[in-house]
């Protein structure tokens, strides 16, 4: 018994925020510099009445267009901007998509590492023969947590939804995983004001607000990810040279280029493409996988290393066969 990714689709909200629009409001933040340094030209932003669940639903509808949805026997939904505190967004998604009711569905709250964790859960459910066809969706709208005057975060983050169909297979195409967790970094990427500790009460006119300590996240990343990559290679008994392509969480161009130089990878082997989306949190890896396949950067049979890292701190990696 094995597991494979059968198909990926993603959905981007229609509304676009360009560097030029940001420059109009923040003249000290030139559009060309944002593109050059952060590697982002525009990002898609959800409308005020458009949620992560909506984005994930649209991606899932695309995915299931030519699939028999009665085959889906589990739904995993990765989001940090769920529709409600309760009930679970995955339950609402089950009904929206018209899936069977004798299936499992759950949300899990992870950010930039979320896609890796979702793949690991799906693999475990299938390899233990509890399930055969898993719908794994990601949906994120950090834009709803970013203050109007927070130019750094507005430059970096975009909204998106993705859907991945993971099925059983004769050959195992999802390899071994490596995980990492360090709650010491919790304060460095956090939405703190809307919290149980504050009884979920916000002041009048106040919105949930994202705080990111960029330099500390940078330090965490460069200390942790080279070792993560080394470990995932050795767990999968493969050398770096035998990896065809590497997709790291598309945090920002600056950090990716730094990691590439630290790990000693050829730039052509490592995906950097967030020009039109920005950092879409748990969506960056499925978007990159789909784009790389469509653009012919990866082909059937290729070994692709995937690594996610960020909020938590939480990190993880695996190696898949296309």
């Amino acid at each position: 018994m094995g597991t494979k990714i059968k198909k990926i689709e993603y959905y981007l909200p229609e509304k676009i925020l360009t560097n030029e629009q940001l420059e109009e409001k923040f003249p000290e933040w030139p559009a060309s510099k944002v593109e050059d340094k952060i590697g982002v030209k525009q990002r898609h932003i959800a409308k005020s009445d458009e949620t992560s669940l909506d984005l994930a639903t649209k991606a899932a509808e695309k995915l299931l267009e030519n699939e028999d949805r009665d085959h889906i026997d589990f739904v995993l939904f990765c989001t940090q901007s769920p529709e409600y505190l309760l009930p679970t967004s995955a339950c609402i998604l089950q009904t929206r998509l018209g899936l069977r009711t004798d299936i499992g569905a759950l949300d899990f709250n992870l950010g930039c590492s979320g896609y890796i964790y979702g793949l690991s859960l799906a693999k475990a459910l299938i390899n233990s023969e509890m399930c055969k066809n898993i719908l794994f969706v990601t949906g994120e709208t950090y834009s709803k947590f970013i203050a109007e005057d927070d130019i750094s975060n507005r430059s970096i983050f975009g909204d998106a939804g993705s859907a991945t169909l993971i099925t059983n297979s004769d050959v195992d195409k999802i390899g071994e995983f490596v995980f990492g967790t360090d709650g010491n970094g919790a304060e460095n990427l956090i939405v703190k004001n809307l919290s149980a500790r504050n009884s979920y009460i916000l002041n009048e006119g106040e919105r949930p607000t994202l705080y990111m300590n960029g330099p500390e996240i940078f330090n965490f990343t460069i200390e942790t990810i080279p070792l993560l990559i080394k470990n995932v290679l050795s767990n999968n008994k493969i050398e770096l040279i035998d990896i065809d392509y590497i997709i790291l969480h598309q945090a920002n161009k600056y950090i990716l280029e730094f990691l590439i130089s630290q790990i000693g990878l050829g730039p052509n082997k490592c995906h950097i493409d967030m020009l039109n989306y920005g950092n879409t949190v748990s969506n960056t890896i499925p978007i990159a996988l789909k784009d790389a396949f469509v653009q012919g950067k990866i082909h059937s049979g290729d070994k692709v290393l995937l690594a996610g890292f960020g909020v938590g701190y939480s990190w993880g990696a695996t190696i898949i066969t296309i």
Binding site: K33, E216, F218, E223, F258
Partner: protein, 76 residues
């Protein structure tokens, strides 16, 4: 090493080395923003293999503070 450091520091901020002195309070530079912080921290990691925790970085005020921080941590 002084001159090397000034050149690297200037490059990270996209300034001319001649525009920088050791007594400058670097947060007053026109170019200073969240990206500049990253550039400096990355430059120090890349060239001196030193990771500066954010809290310690926030305590450094002038260019020579940064230089001395690197000196002190290189000797360890």
């Amino acid at each position: 090493m002084n001159e090397d450091f000034l050149n690297l520091f200037a490059e990270a901020l996209e300034k001319e080395p001649s525009e920088i002195t050791f007594d400058d309070e670097f947060r007053n530079y026109e170019e200073w923003n969240s990206l500049a912080v990253l550039s400096i921290i990355a430059m120090i990691k890349q060239n001196y293999d030193i990771t500066i925790p954010r809290k310690e970085f926030d305590e450094l005020k002038i260019v020579s503070d940064l230089f001395e921080y690197i000196q002190a941590h290189r000797q360890k």
